[in-house]
Amino acid sequence: MTDPNTLSPLDLETPEKPFLDANELVINMGPQHPATHGVLRVILRLDGEKVLGLECVIGYLHRGVEKIAENRTYTMFNPYVDRMDYVAAVSNGLGYCEAVEKLLSVEAPPRAQYIRVILTELNRIASHQLWLGTHALDIGAITPLFYTFRDREEILKIFEKYCGARLTTHAFRIGGLQYEAYDGFEKDVKNFLLFFAPKIDEYEELLTTNRIWLERTKKVGIISGKDCIALGVTGPVLRASGVKWDIRKAQPYANYKNFDFEIPTGQNGDTYDRYLVRMAEMRQSLRIIQQAVDGIPEGPIIAKVPKVIKPPVGEIYHSIEAPKGELGYFIVSDGSTQPYRVRVRPPSFVNLQALDVMCRGQLVADVIAVIGTLDIVLGEVDR
């Protein structure tokens, strides 16, 4: 993860240390550690409690998803992408399906587009809820975790009713939807909107003005917009640094141009701003869902795609705004039923590069806060 070319604009050189410095303590955090969100291993070099530098060791959850793709047909690979970012499986599926659709030059029918948007935004909320709960838990506030899980359950219930699965949903098919929306889908979603809007206030009540929360998150893990761009960091982390970049607006996909919503941004690029940005994003997601559910058109749910998907020879890169940042799929087709190569650009993997920049000079407790605020999912980092 230390490619000198990408890191050159930043000062990532370790400070000169005298040989055999007795003050330095090397701590191995993870891969089994309560706060590394899975099997991330962080090697910390500490001076007392101060972090002199750190290195991420990844790969403990590597399953070779990209290689598997080369031995499966396009349709068969679809469920595998759900297993990458398993807390935002719908987004993964959307990205993959849209990439293949682009390769096939088909477009999903409007009804499918609308339902896709609803499910994806619901999944964004679910992902942010999980982030909020675990992030607050890492910082020591236990209670928000249970509040967010209680409310996340309502989203998962909608998913379960829609496709039978709660987490790895496999909700979409290439060309449209896997299933027609069940009876009462709109009503369930509208009920959820009514139910969830006050719940965000409830989370904010516990944290936003909490003195300890402010002290723990303000001026912690600061990263500038320039550094974010240099490291390829995307998503809420980038937006909290003041860069107004959201692929839903910048390169609209899946009907997003029809919806009215704002891109929340922060100024300071610290943990607190990232918290505020994600909280605002949940509200914006509610707005999008409201518009989408009010305007679901009737019609077919899947475009006319052949039973055996055989895209023409070519390559495609398609990216979407996943809850954690830019999720891109680069697919090379050799004209057969199986992709020649699938390369995933996972937001967590790229965002994780910023950990060292954000943590250097901070304290051990801040490393935990920063890992939490980056919102990484190790299934996606390692694939």
Binding site: I27, I212, W213, V364
Partner: protein, 428 residues
């Protein structure tokens, strides 16, 4: 037998603690009672913390072992006792072995001077509060030893954090305590006291709990102590030494089984100990609420009925839950157990209504009730607050609480000595 009863009666009518009277037999009985009571309190606290925290967090908490998980702490204790005793290969054996005992010893020894009532203490030392602060701060030694002997990184950092934290908060705590002690000397003779019983008696004679004395000075001193005591016992939001998300388990990462349970026991008894200091110093110890406003035999009677009604209320809750238990035969034993538990509580409640018992138990009841309120606060904080970072914790201790404590101390002294100052120095 008759002589024995007379012996008991003669003791009950005396107005001295067994330690002060030099009565070894009664002192032994008291030690036994306090030890058993404390263990029961820790077990109850374990269950209550899990239940209350669970209900704050929209969960149910333990529900399986016994009705409403009532037997869960016992099951846990049993599990811990029969666990394999693991000592890390690189650990310093003796220090590793002795550390939990030091912590437990420090946590339990302080109860020697805790006054549950005017005569209900093991002994009444004339340096009671000093003894308590001194002995309870010994536990930091055990924690450092535990962290060091484990010979592992996380425990070492946890121990360092813990020692720094406990030492720095002791300063603010001490200042708050001194301002309370100053208040005891505000009588005609100007004789203050460090004795725990004496402090409560001073509040009795001055007709005011020290938390309301020189409002808001007493309140501020109490606040400083209340913050410092949470830091002192390493509880949320100051639970950095055992910050689970950062240091896995802090200084006791390498401990398991019985040794770990000793740390657990020590933590909870330390919580009870510091709460009893706070109750003694600021909340009037064993004194019942409103001893000045609601006076007269009627109010005395009403307040002395509280212990019995508390137990009856708990029994009522048990019976209510019994009625709500599932009617399935699988739950029969649990239902019967809960009903039996309720019946036992009701029986205790009825016994507490007997005048002989009622009047003797009243002091202990009010003391325990006040301590229980603190215990609830501990749980509440844990459910509400995120955790401080280490430097912020130090900042709060040294830059906020310490100046506040000094200010309160000086102001208390000035206000307390105001009549004297007026007489001697200040002639307007």
């Amino acid at each position: 037998m008759h002589a024995f009863i007379q012996y008991i009666q003669s003791y009950l009518d005396s107005n001295q603690t067994p330690g002060a009277a030099g009565n070894v037999f009664w002192a032994f009985i008291y030690i036994l009672l306090v030890f058993v009571g404390l263990s029961v309190a820790v077990i109850a606290m374990n269950w209550l913390e899990r239940k209350i925290l669970a209900h704050m967090q929209v969960r149910l908490g333990p529900m399986r072992v016994g009705p409403h998980g009532l037997l869960q702490p016992i099951a846990d204790a049993l599990k811990l006792l029969i666990k394999e005793d693991i000592m890390p290969a690189e650990a310093d054996g003796f220090v590793f072995w002795v550390a939990p005992f030091i912590v437990v010893l420090a946590a339990f020894t302080v109860f020697v001077v805790v006054p549950f009532g005017p005569t209900h203490a093991i002994t009444d030392m004339n340096i009671g509060i000093l003894f308590m602060l001194g002995v309870s701060s010994l536990s930091v030694l055990g924690i450092v030893m535990a962290g060091w002997a484990s010979n592992s990184h996380y425990p070492l950092i946890g121990a360092l954090r813990s020692s720094a934290q406990m030492v720095s908060y002791e300063v603010a705590m001490g200042l708050a305590v001194v301002s309370a002690i100053l208040m005891t000397s505000l009588n005609e003779q100007g004789t203050g006291t460090l004795s725990m019983i004496g402090i409560v008696q001073a509040q009795q004679t001055q007709g005011m709990w020290f938390i309301f004395k020189f409002f808001p000075l007493g309140l501020i001193a109490f606040f400083i102590f209340a913050v410092a005591m949470i830091a002192e016992t390493n509880r949320a939001p100051f639970d950095l030494p055992e910050a689970e998300s950062e240091l896995t388990a802090g200084f006791h990462t390498e401990y398991s089984g019985f040794r770990w349970s000793l740390f657990f026991l020590a933590e909870y008894s330390a919580m009870i100990a510091v709460s009893s200091i706070a109750v003694t110093l600021w909340l009037g110890g064993w004194l019942r609420p409103f001893p000045n406003f609601l006076t007269g035999p009627t109010w005395d009677l009403v307040f002395s009925l509280f212990p019995g009604f508390t137990f009856l209320f708990l029994a009522g809750m048990c019976f209510y839950s019994t009625a709500r238990m599932p009617k399935h035969p699988l739950f029969r034993i649990q239902t019967m157990g809960l009903a039996g538990f309720g019946a036992a509580l009701a029986l205790i409640g009825l016994v507490l209504f007997h005048p002989q018992v009622r009047l003797r138990i009243e002091d202990i009841y009010w003391f325990c009730a006040k301590v229980a309120a603190f215990m609830y606060l501990y749980i509440w904080y844990r459910g509400t607050f995120p955790r401080y970072r280490f430097d912020q914790l130090m900042k709060v201790g040294w830059k906020i609480l310490l100046p506040m404590g000094l200010g309160v101390l000086i102001l208390t002294a000035t206000v307390g000595l105001w009549p004297l100052i007026k007489q001697t120095i200040w002639h307007p």
